[in-house]
Symmetry: C2
Subunit: 337 residues, 2 copies
């Protein structure tokens, strides 16, 4: 950081600091002439108003924080991409936080952010089931907060989600139409709202098409590759499903690996469909039928919503919910045998 500050620049130009300051702001009266002179000199001396001083003075940071469960995941990096685009347009900066699905970290991040570092937060919540009332405790002084995709149902704040129930229903129906009778539903955290909603679509589709429901076919997985591999192989051996519906991208991959190892052919012996934002799903072996969420768009919507809150808090209903549509894209992993 340069130590060339507003005072120096004012001295060089034989002006007062207030005049110099005005040149950098839109309001304030200043003649075009002096303004140009000041900006030119600023450029020459490589001067920029110190961000922290400005923010201390103005009480806002022009920064938003984005909290996601993980970074190495197509869905989230694409969502971040969307957020980035909107933020950049508005001249805002983005702080990134990854919780690694760790509740403690999530709480720590949120608490920390209330020190003025960010003007608002966009978050997809961690998978851990815990008391998240900490968000309510901050209520009066809570920063503007927007949830996306993974939300806490009992926290009232604007959110951007997808039509998970319908997508799950369609995906399950599709499996049934393709001839599946024993469809496993793989989930990472049954208690997280998103797992529940998606499961309900699955359950209702089974019922509607008179497929008997077997509780064992709802398989609770983990965040560990290794343990999932064990769980899935065990599941295949014991339960002999002819269809697998995964609520999370990663579990579709795990299913593929398990099937490869067990010599189960997809789609002849097992048909697979999964939530996934993978752009190269067509390149998989076999190409993967996906419920594709509009991930970038979700980011864009979430950011737009947050900026609306920042601009006019009263005008945004706290229970505002934006629902975007996912698409079921049928590929070979669910082809008829």
């Amino acid at each position: 950081m340069s130590n060339f500050n507003i005072k120096e620049l004012a001295r060089v130009l034989n002006l007062s600091t207030s005049t110099v300051s005005r040149a950098f702001r839109d309001n304030g009266d200043i003649s075009k002439e002096t303004r140009d002179k000041i900006l030119a000199a600023a450029k020459e001396h490589n001067y920029q108003p110190n961000h922290y001083a400005s923010n201390l003075r103005e009480q806002r940071s022009k920064t938003i924080a984005v909290i996601v469960p993980e970074l190495g995941n197509n869905f989230f990096s694409q969502a971040i991409h969307g957020i980035e685009r909107v933020a950049r347009e508005k001249g805002y900066h983005i702080l990134i936080y990854a919780t690694d699905d760790d509740y403690e970290k999530e709480v720590a991040f949120i608490r920390h952010l209330h020190n003025g570092r960010a003007d608002g937060i966009i978050m997809s919540v961690s998978g851990e089931e815990n008391d998240h009332n900490y968000l309510n405790e901050l209520n009066q002084q809570r920063l503007p907060l927007v949830f996306f995709d993974r939300v806490y149902e009992d926290i009232i704040t604007p959110r951007v989600i997808t039509n998970d129930y319908n997508s799950s229903f369609s995906a399950t129906k599709h499996l049934i139409k393709q001839g599946c009778k024993r469809i496993a539903y793989l989930v990472i955290n049954k208690n997280l709202s998103i797992g529940k909603t998606r499961m309900q679509g699955y359950l209702d589709a089974l019922e509607k098409y008179d497929i008997p429901f077997d509780d064992d076919l709802i398989v609770d997985c983990t965040n560990s590759y290794k343990r999932n591999d064990v769980i899935l192989k065990d599941m295949f051996k014991k339960l002999k499903p002819d269809g697998v519906f995964t609520s999370v991208e990663r579990l579709a991959f795990a299913t593929y690996y398990a099937c490869y190892d067990l010599n189960l052919s997809i789609p002849q012996q097992v048909k697979v469909v999964g939530f996934s934002s993978l752009q190269i799903a067509p390149l998989l072996n076999p190409s993967l039928t996906t419920v594709t969420q509009p991930s970038t768009q979700i980011g864009v919507e979430a950011a737009s919503l947050l900026f609306k809150m920042l601009a006019a808090p009263e005008q945004v209903n706290n229970s505002e919910t934006v629902v975007l549509d996912s698409k079921l894209i049928k590929r070979n992993s669910t082809a008829k045998s």
Copy 2:
């Protein structure tokens, strides 16, 4: 942000602001008793020292900026993941900037960051070929900067790269051993150092194994999916390569799509190997032979290097270069026909 500040807290506790401030810092004399009392009260009132005020006072932000060409790319999101991990450990925050390979944006970001918002920068440079001397102009007041993966060769600053030359040589050699005689090299920007280095490995391998070099087989691609598709199909029709080596992950995908469309079978008619950090390369059809960079590790190293610079600038040699090894992982896309 709360308006409950250090003054309020001091008033509540009947102490001075300086004493309260001391409770939050490691140095400074303060009795354990009062310190505990202060911290307890702080927790109760949800008080945290205002970040901007602290930073203005301390002249540092505990924030680093990460600039990458794009976010929707496994390599970069994994690298960011690595950076995140180290930064979090050190109590630093991360600002994310995506240039979309746009040189103007890169310059704007860098310039902007000199307003004190960040203490240091970790960057993978944009692909555009341009004058990047702007980095040198900032020299005296330049923020600590670490390059990773994609670097400007003429800017002297610490960097973390991989052994691209060797990897390319090995990958090309592998294609040759598998029987390829006409190997195309796909690159996005020939003039970017990384494209050059990787190309040199390719060229030298050809020479060493007496494969005649055909300039047309070096194909300059773009950042656009559509245009790449046209370029590649054209290339396949006209040049009939029997091997393809892609310097960037995305071009391997493009190659797959083109081969699918043209009914060229991989690996029987065309063998493919590419730089890629895709974790599900084994699931592709066919599974993709990759030069896999230790992406997360690269992030970790880059961050560690930056923190070393922040801690003791004199102790880091500006031309320090950390070289990590990539791995050639052979899969079916280069299997012998």
